[in-house]
């Protein structure tokens, strides 16, 4: 509880802004994060991937769905850096555009899960009683479901597609965050700063989201980052088995699916999109590990 120490200290003697900053846990975490080489590699790598996806129209030498029947299944060359697929489409261009789909779906999926989990976990932990019981029993049942099967069941109900995958990732992720948040709220709601806020008449909603949330969000950020890697993997995996992005989408997993039939004669169709998935997840995991070390007080100093 660095924050409360800083606050109680400030009653005795007003600190300079510099010491105040050095007592701020977020500042310490940011310092720690910036000094980790691996985390920085992940951060720069992921930034490059995101930028190349955003600026794909400027960077890609060909339109991602432009067919060229004169040059199908061509090996990588100076004209086509990563070769062409069975329809003569440029793989490098498709891989750049594909990042838009894979990264976006993973990110939105995790966001849905975090928002849903934070709200439910907050309600369950803060109010307790029957509401807590109801929410946590549903969470227990959802956690008893094998994660991949839960994903598949939701896709089965809503029908294959990237939008479905987004929703499925979000729904399937909610129980994890709910449990994480509820535990932290149970611990946090008895702290003095919550009691103080109650005494001066702050509304329950404001206590939950303005007072408690900033104090318990750190582990959620770490977990969500590591989860993002898993979500990108699940998105491309589901597309690979034909339940996610559908042709002619250049989503990385869907490109791998298209490459299956030509694995013997055109390995590049399978190698490059997979390499992108691997790097995206690797960078995200490096960032996640860096954040975990930065937020974990046991490892600090």
């Amino acid at each position: 509880m660095k924050l409360t120490q800083a606050q109680s200290g400030s009653i005795l003697k007003p600190p300079s802004w510099r010491t105040a900053l050095h007592d701020n846990p977020w500042w310490l975490a940011a310092q720690m994060f910036l000094h980790s080489q691996l985390a920085m590699i992940g951060f720069i790598g992921l930034s490059l991937l995101i930028l190349s996806a955003i600026f794909a129209p400027l960077l890609a030498p060909y339109p991602p769905t432009q067919l060229d029947y004169d040059h199908p299944l061509e090996a990588p060359s100076s004209a086509h850096w990563m070769g062409t697929d069975d329809l003569g489409r440029d793989i490098f261009s498709r891989v750049l555009y594909g990042g838009r789909e894979s990264l976006k779906v993973g990110l939105i999926g995790v966001t849905i899960a975090v928002i849903g989990g934070v709200c439910l976990g907050m309600l369950a932990g803060f109010y307790g009683g029957w509401l807590d019981n109801l929410i946590m029993r549903i969470v227990d049942i959802m956690l008893a479901f094998p994660y991949i099967l839960l994903l598949l069941s939701i896709v089965a109900v809503l029908g294959p597609g990237l939008g479905t995958v987004m929703i499925a990732l979000g729904l399937a992720g909610i129980p994890f965050y709910t449990r994480l948040i509820r535990g932290s709220v149970l611990a946090a709601k008895n702290f003095e700063y919550v009691t103080a806020a109650r005494v001066v008449g702050v509304s329950p909603f404001a206590i939950m989201f303005r007072h408690i949330l900033p104090n318990i969000i750190a582990p959620v950020i770490v977990y969500a980052t590591l989860d993002l890697g898993g979500s990108i993997m699940a998105t491309s995996g589901l597309s690979y088995i034909g339940l996610g992005a559908q042709p002619p989408s250049p989503e990385w997993g869907a490109m791998l699916n298209a490459g299956r039939k030509f694995i013997m004669q055109a390995g590049w169709m399978s190698i490059y999109p997979g390499l992108m998935i691997f790097f995206a997840i690797l960078f995200v995991n490096l960032i996640g590990d860096g954040l975990r070390d930065a937020f974990d007080p046991k490892l600090r100093r």
């Binding site: 008893a144 993997m233 034909g242 694995i263 013997m264 190698i271």
Partner: protein
């Protein structure tokens, strides 16, 4: 111990009830009339009526759920829309292949991960440690299905050392098992390493050393039994994870197991099959958890007295 086992068995009941209820409800809210899906679009209205009556499709929801549960308890998970075969038969036919894959994957993950973790923790060599951590990080970031594809390209197209797909003898299991186990091997290596490093700092290890026992003896007899307890729990989780991973790997290597079956039944929206799969797999998961908990109780007697 018996009491503990019984209590754990009883705890499975509400979980399984919840899972069956949820999967049954999911199948019910999904658009599409089972009678239409089974009989096809050309079926007459009478035929549809007859089918609905014969399958009790017009009963109240809870009555239908009760019947589903009763039948499931007797090993009947319903009949497929398309093939009209009993779902239970379809599942039991494919489960051995998936179980084989998962067990082979477990053997590889344990055989690679745990020794690597032990070596990394005990040698304190910077080089071994770096390799272990890199291995764990790569394992977590490498999609198993892409690893499978790479293995097919390397061994099937270039090297031809190991058969890639099609046959039934154990050699065909090597590549899929490796692909499905890679991530778990990394996780186990990292966990074993950190768990051993933690236990090594305990007082009883220092005492054992002070008595003059050899390093090897201390590690094998004092450190490992304690350090491996958390590894056992994760072993159960990894087993479940690999069962799920079969969904992807079986597609890569064209193995006809449960995972591929699940994907196929979802693609054609055969709900009795999907539902049966969910219930069956949830039962398997619950059993894995049970086995882990019980073995945990054996390994660490303190847990039983909670």
């Amino acid at each position: 111990m018996l009491k503990y086992t019984l209590r754990r068995l009883l705890m499975m009941i509400p979980v399984l009830l919840g899972v069956t209820f949820l999967s049954f409800a999911i199948a019910k809210v999904t658009p599409g009339d089972p009678a239409r899906l089974t009989l096809g679009t050309k079926a007459s209205a009478e035929a549809i009526q007859q089918f609905r009556a014969a399958n009790h499709l017009d009963d109240p929801f809870l009555v239908q759920y009760g019947r589903f549960l009763w039948n499931a308890l007797h090993g009947d998970l319903g009949t497929s829309f398309r093939s009209r075969t009993p779902v239970m038969d379809d599942i039991l036919e494919r489960f051995p292949s998936t179980l084989q894959l998962t067990l082979a994957g477990m053997a590889l993950a344990v055989g690679i991960g745990i020794p690597l973790g032990i070596i990394a923790a005990t040698t304190r060599s910077k080089w071994v440690n770096a390799v272990t951590m890199l291995f764990a990080l790569t394992g977590l970031s490498l999609p198993s299905f892409w690893l499978g594809i790479l293995l097919i390209i390397v061994f099937g197209v270039k090297l031809h050392w190991i058969p890639v797909m099609g046959g039934n003898d154990p050699r065909y299991l090597i590549l899929p098992a490796f692909a499905v186990s890679f991530a778990s091997a990394g996780v186990l290596a990292r966990l074993t390493r950190s768990s051993i490093l933690e236990v090594m700092q305990d007082d009883y290890v220092r005492t054992a050393r002070a008595k003059g026992l050899s390093d090897r003896f201390v590690v094998l007899r004092h450190v490992l039994p304690n350090a491996l307890i958390p590894v056992i729990t994760v072993l159960g989780m990894e087993f479940a994870f690999m069962l799920g991973g079969a969904v992807f790997i079986e597609n890569v290597f064209a193995r006809s197991g449960l995972g591929r079956f699940a994907v196929q039944s979802i693609s054609v929206r055969d709900f009795p099959q999907v539902q049966g799969m969910v219930v069956f797999t949830a039962l398997v998961y619950a059993l894995i958890n049970l086995i882990v908990d019980i073995s945990y109780g054996f390994l660490d007697p303190r847990i039983r007295y909670d």
